[in-house]
C-alpha cells in the first residue's frame, strides 16, 4: 500500500518540530527517513502511525485519508526503538496480541504465530518471556508482533538503535531479506547513514523538521540537493571561496562553479587526490599530519590560502609515496559541489 504525506506540520511550544513535510512511498518500497537527532524524523513517523496528533497536513494510505483516524483504525505496524514488548507475556502471546484483540480464533492465532516464528527464526522460543531473550531476538519478536495482523504499512523507529554493532549488521541484512519476502510497504527512521544506505530503496533526509532531499542512495551521494545533505552524508570538507565567471578559486586550485560570489565548496575526503610535489614545482598545500586509520590513511593538510582539509586513501595507495608532515603536495579535486554561502 502507498503512503502519501502532504504538508505535514507539528508545533511544540511555538517551535516547529515538523514543517511542511510532503512525500510519497510507493507500494512495497522500503524507505529510510534519515536525519540528525532533533530533526523531527521520529515525529513524522509517529504522526503517520497516529501516536502523535497532526497540527496541519494530511496522511493518506492508498486512497484512505487516515490522519483523522484513531491509531488502532489505521492498521499500521509499529516497531519501537526499545522493542516495547509486553514483558509479562510470552513471545507467542506477544505475537498473537494484535490478533487476539481483533477476536481472531485461537487456532488461527496459533497457526499465524507458528508461521511468523519460523519466518523470523524464533522457532522454539514461543514460550519464553522477553527478559529471557537476547537483544536481536527481542527485536525480531517486536517485528513479528507488528507483522502478525498483516498491517498495510510497517513503521520502524530506530529499529537497530538498541543492539550492539555486530548484531546490527546482521539485523540489517536480515531486515532487507525479510522485506524482499514480505513486501510490506515500510518506512524506517534512523540517524545512521550507513544503515539507511545499506537497507533502503530510497532515502529521505530531514533537517530541522524539513525534508531536504528524497532520492536513491546513489542520487543522494552523487547529487546532493542542498549543502546540508552534502555535508551530512559522508566525510566531507567545506571550503570557503569566491566564485566568478564559472570558476571558484581555492588558493591555486580552480573548481567549476555555477553560482557567483561567496560560495561553499563541499568535497568528500575520497573525492580529493594529493601527491608529493615534484622538486621545483610549487604545489598547492602543505601536509600537517598523516594518520593511519586501519585499512585507510587520513592526510590532513593546509591549502595556500590557509584553509585546512583532509583526504582519505586506501592504506597502500601509491599516491601516498613521499607524502609526509611538512612536505608540499599537489592537490586535485575530482568531484565537488558548490553552494552559495548563506550569510
Amino acid at each position: 500500500m502507498s503512503i502519501r504525506v502532504v504538508g505535514l506540520q507539528k508545533k511544540l511550544g511555538g517551535n516547529h518540530i515538523v514543517r511542511d513535510v510532503s512525500f510519497e512511498v510507493r507500494p512495497g518500497e522500503l524507505v529510510a527517513l534519515l536525519g540528525p537527532s532533533g530533526s523531527g524524523k521520529s515525529t513524522v513517523l509517529r504522526m503517520i502511525a497516529g501516536l502523535e496528533t497532526v497540527d496541519a497536513g494530511e496522511v493518506w494510505l492508498e486512497d484512505r485519508r487516515v490522519d483523522t483516524l484513531d491509531v488502532r483504525e489505521r492498521n499500521v505496524g509499529f516497531v519501537f526503538q526499545h522493542y516495547a514488548l509486553f514483558r509479562h507475556m510470552t513471545v507467542g502471546d506477544n505475537i498473537a496480541f494484535g490478533l487476539q484483540v481483533r477476536g481472531v480464533s485461537a487456532d488461527k492465532r496459533e497457526a499465524r504465530v507458528r508461521e511468523l516464528c519460523q519466518l523470523m527464526g524464533l522457532s522454539g522460543l514461543a514460550d519464553r518471556l522477553p527478559a529471557q531473550l537476547s537483544g536481536g531476538q527481542r527485536q525480531r519478536v517486536a517485528l513479528a508482533r507488528a507483522l502478525a495482523p498483516q498491517p498495510s504499512l510497517l513503521l520502524l523507529d530506530e529499529p537497530f538503535g538498541a543492539v550492539d554493532a555486530k548484531v546490527r549488521e546482521e539485523l540489517r541484512r536480515w531486515l532487507r531479506r525479510l522485506h524482499d519476502e514480505v513486501h510490506t510497504t515500510s518506512l524506517f527512521v534512523t540517524h545512521d547513514q550507513e544503515e539507511a544506505f545499506a537497507v533502503a530503496d530510497r532515502v529521505m533526509i530531514l533537517s530541522q523538521g524539513q525534508l531536504e532531499q528524497a532520492d536513491t542512495p546513489e542520487g543522494i551521494l552523487d547529487r546532493p540537493a542542498t549543502e546540508f545533505v552534502a555535508r551530512f552524508v559522508g566525510d566531507v570538507n567545506v571550503l570557503h571561496a569566491v566564485a566568478a565567471d564559472g570558476v571558484a578559486l581555492l588558493g591555486g586550485l580552480r573548481v567549476p562553479s555555477e553560482t557567483a560570489g561567496a560560495v561553499h565548496v563541499v568535497v568528500r575526503a575520497y573525492d580529493l587526490k594529493l601527491w608529493r610535489a615534484a622538486d621545483g614545482a610549487a604545489g598547492h598545500a602543505t601536509v600537517r599530519r598523516v594518520l593511519p586509520l586501519g585499512d585507510r590513511v587520513r592526510v590532513e593538510a593546509v591549502l595556500d590560502d590557509g584553509q585546512s582539509f583532509h583526504a582519505q586513501f586506501p592504506r597502500r595507495s601509491s599516491l601516498l609515496h613521499g607524502v609526509e608532515p611538512g612536505g608540499r603536495v599537489e592537490v586535485e579535486i575530482t568531484t565537488s559541489r558548490v553552494f552559495p554561502a548563506r550569510s
Binding site: 516495547a84 509486553f86 510470552t90 496480541f97 484483540v101
Partner: protein, 266 residues
C-alpha cells in the same frame, strides 16, 4: 579494618538492631500469652473481642477493595491523563500521610457531628455517622488513601507509555490495553499497595478512636479493644489481641511475597 570485618560488623549491627526493635517486643508479647494461655484465650473468646476483631476485618476488606481501586484510578489520572490540575491531585493524595490521624478523626467529627455541615441533610435521611460503624470506615478510608496510589504512580511513571502505544498500534482499545497490558505490569505495585493499606487499616487507632469512640459492640475495633482491655487491667486479653494483629501482619507479608513474584507463563 578489612572489608570482611566491616561486613561482619554491619551484619551484626543490623541483626542486633532488628532484634531489639522488632523481635524482642514481639517475643515478650508471645511469652505473656504463653504464660497464661487459658486467660488469653478466654479474653479473646469474649463476645466483645470477637465483635471488635470482626469489625476490624470487615472494615479492612472494604477499605482494601475501595482504596486499591480508587488508588489505581487516581494514579492513572495523575500520570497518564492530560487533565489540568493533576499536579494538585498528586499533592492532595499525600495529604493523609502528613495529617495526624487524630486530626482526621476530629475533622470527620466536625463534618458529620452535631451542627456539622453534613449532619442535617444526612439525619433527615435517617443516617447517623459519628459513633457508628460508617465513621470507622470513613476514617480508615481517609488514612489509607495514599498507599496504593503512591506505589502505582511510581511504577506507571517508570513504565512509560511505549507498551501502551504498542498495544494501540496493534488494534487494542483503551480498555483492552488497560486490562491486558497496563494492569499486569502494575501487579507488584498493586500488591504492595494493598498490603500497606491492609496493614494500616488493621492497625489504625487514633482516627478510629476519635470518630468512633470505641463503643463496645458498636464501634470497637481490634486496636481500641486492646486500649480498653489495658485500661480495665485485662492484660492477657490485650496481649492476645495484639498477637492476633501481629499474626495477621505476618500473613499479609507472606501473601505479598507470594503475589509480588513475577508470574511464569506455562
Amino acid at each position: 579494618m578489612s572489608d570482611r570485618w566491616v561486613r561482619r560488623w554491619v551484619i551484626g549491627l543490623v541483626l542486633a538492631y532488628l532484634g531489639a526493635i522488632l523481635v524482642v517486643p514481639l517475643f515478650s508479647l508471645l511469652s505473656v500469652v504463653v504464660g497464661a494461655p487459658d486467660r488469653a484465650i478466654d479474653g479473646l473468646l469474649r463476645p466483645e473481642a470477637i465483635d471488635a476483631l470482626t469489625r476490624t476485618l470487615t472494615v479492612t476488606a472494604v477499605v482494601v477493595v475501595g482504596n486499591v481501586t480508587m488508588g489505581v484510578a487516581a494514579a492513572w489520572l495523575v500520570v497518564r491523563d492530560p487533565m489540568r490540575g493533576r499536579a494538585a491531585l498528586d499533592a492532595l493524595l499525600d495529604l493523609p500521610l502528613a495529617v495526624s490521624p487524630v486530626m482526621t478523626g476530629l475533622s470527620l467529627l466536625l463534618l458529620f457531628g452535631r451542627n456539622g455541615w453534613l449532619a442535617s441533610p444526612l439525619s433527615s435521611m435517617g443516617v447517623v455517622v459519628p459513633f457508628q460503624w460508617p465513621a470507622i470506615l470513613l476514617a480508615t478510608l481517609f488514612v489509607t488513601l495514599p498507599f496504593t496510589a503512591r506505589e502505582v504512580i511510581l511504577v506507571l511513571r517508570e513504565l512509560g507509555t511505549s507498551q501502551e502505544e504498542a498495544a494501540a498500534t496493534l488494534g487494542a482499545t483503551g480498555w483492552q490495553t488497560f486490562w491486558r497490558v497496563t494492569l499486569p505490569n502494575l501487579r507488584s505495585a498493586v500488591a504492595l499497595g494493598a498490603t500497606l493499606t491492609a496493614a494500616r487499616a488493621l492497625g489504625e487507632f487514633g482516627a478510629v478512636l476519635v470518630v468512633g469512640g470505641a463503643i463496645r459492640g458498636r464501634t470497637q475495633t481490634a486496636t481500641t479493644f486492646i486500649h480498653t482491655a489495658m485500661e480495665e487491667r485485662q492484660e492477657e486479653a490485650a496481649y492476645a489481641m495484639s498477637l492476633v494483629l501481629a499474626f495477621l501482619a505476618i500473613l499479609l507479608l507472606a501473601a505479598l511475597t507470594a503475589l509480588g513474584r513475577p508470574r511464569r507463563s506455562p
